[in-house]
Symmetry: C2
DNA sequence: CTACCTTTGTGCTGTATAACACGGTTTTAT
DNA sequence: ATAAAACCGTGTTATACAGCACAAAGGTAG
């Protein structure tokens, strides 16, 4: 199946942000602590309440970070695209996971023990700055999201989610079709609404020719108008 | 009025988390870049859109971090108590402020230029770890808050806010009265509801003897029951 | 003291959205 | 191929909450 040993070049390509700041000694150390794991579609990667052990970097595939809210309603907090790091926050905060992660699609994920990361952090400030920057960006997004999800109306929230998916995962060759195919339920959990309302609102958007839907394929037709809907709430 | 020069001892007492990890050279550098500023009650400390220049540490007083949402509705994102640091996230993320800050009460705030912080960070990993930990904790809280504000019902949200205020600012000598006196409007903005509903729900809690209200003074009587209301949503 | 503004409190009305029910369709499993 | 399950779509009903409007109380200024 997979090769047992990856070359340093291959690792460097996988995790450039982590790799670049390191000295050659540190790189060797990291290479020794580098493992790769595969996850099937919809497979859980980690659960709420578990103790974090590894920093993860998504090599290929798409991942959702979500939380089980009150009454079994689940809420998608953020989504991860390839080359993005995740699962480290809880360790740094000295907590267990408060979120769960699952694969939208088949995924390849690289795992690095947090103890190794801590050792590298104690030696390398540039690496520390990478995490400071990343956490700061994510915190800003999270704050923004809180206001959007609580204050915008259904149409605004769904429009925002669609644009967010476009900005995150991009589009296919036609330049319009979102390159992620979500179930209506996931779309609802991302937009803080019930599945029925996600379906209904999506249909409305399609009737208004703002988007075109074909099963799970969504084409963004009138991006400007969607942005407007998202903005005014 | 205030002394021109603070002794190192005084500074160390003000900002222990920042001070402790530093070498004596770094401490001297920090002392030279240390200024103190006072803010009146309700005065704005920084605005949405401004460019962040200083790390701030609240020495005395209470501060709210908030966002203007859609349609002028404002939302309190987090609150700061004394000895807490704030205003640094946006700089690290290389953004302008996406939130605003204002004084709940008269405040004394110490300011340190972010450029000085960056210099210290490049030299001192322990300091970097402090920010990584702090940002990680705040990100967890923010994610938690998103779910709470979107999924819980009014009673749950208000109960949570009251407990949150107790946990953050504590109580007076009687061990029950919250030591922060908020307007009903601020309470509403903290709990994602209209002022009328904050007033109404607060009255309901009082009628049910869960709390006692006397103007802006709030006594938490049945903390367990409030926690239960907050938990079940 | 009087006037004025802000905050608090209450009732009424409207509506956005959740909740439920049910039928059709597609995917998965055997 | 057939059963089972998951997903999609639509209509109906119920309700939590926002949005006024207005009155009373408290604070502030002249």
């Amino acid at each position: 199946m997979a090769k047992k040993e990856l070359t340093e070049k291959e690792i460097a390509d996988c995790i450039p942000d982590l790799w670049m700041p390191l000295t050659s000694e540190q790189r060797e150390y990291l290479a020794q602590n580098f493992t790769v794991q595969k996850f099937k579609k919809n497979e859980t990667i980690y659960c709420e309440g578990e103790t974090p052990m590894h920093l993860m970097c998504l090599l290929t595939g798409k991942v959702k970070i979500y939380k089980e809210g009150v009454g079994g309603r689940s809420q998608i907090i953020r989504v991860i695209k390839d080359k993005e790091y995740f699962a480290y926050r809880a360790y740094f905060a000295e907590e267990n996971f408060v979120t769960a992660a699952a694969a939208f699609e088949p995924c390849t994920i690289c795992l690095i023990p947090m103890t190794a990361i801590m050792k590298l952090l104690s030696e390398n400030n540039e690496l520390a700055m990478f995490f400071i920057r990343q956490l700061s960006i994510d915190l800003g997004i999270s704050d923004e999201r809180t206001v959007n999800l609580t204050q915008k109306h259904i149409r605004g929230r769904l429009a925002e989610s669609l644009l967010f998916l476009k900005d995150t995962y991009g589009v296919e060759e036609d330049e319009f079709t979102l390159s992620i195919y979500l179930s209506r339920e996931d779309l609802a959990n991302l937009s803080n609404m019930t599945t029925s309302n996600a379906i209904r609102t999506l249909s409305n958007f399609a009737n208004e020719k703002l988007i075109a839907i074909d099963g799970r394929k969504i084409k963004i037709i009138e991006e400007d108008k969607l942005r407007k809907i998202s903005k005014i709430g």
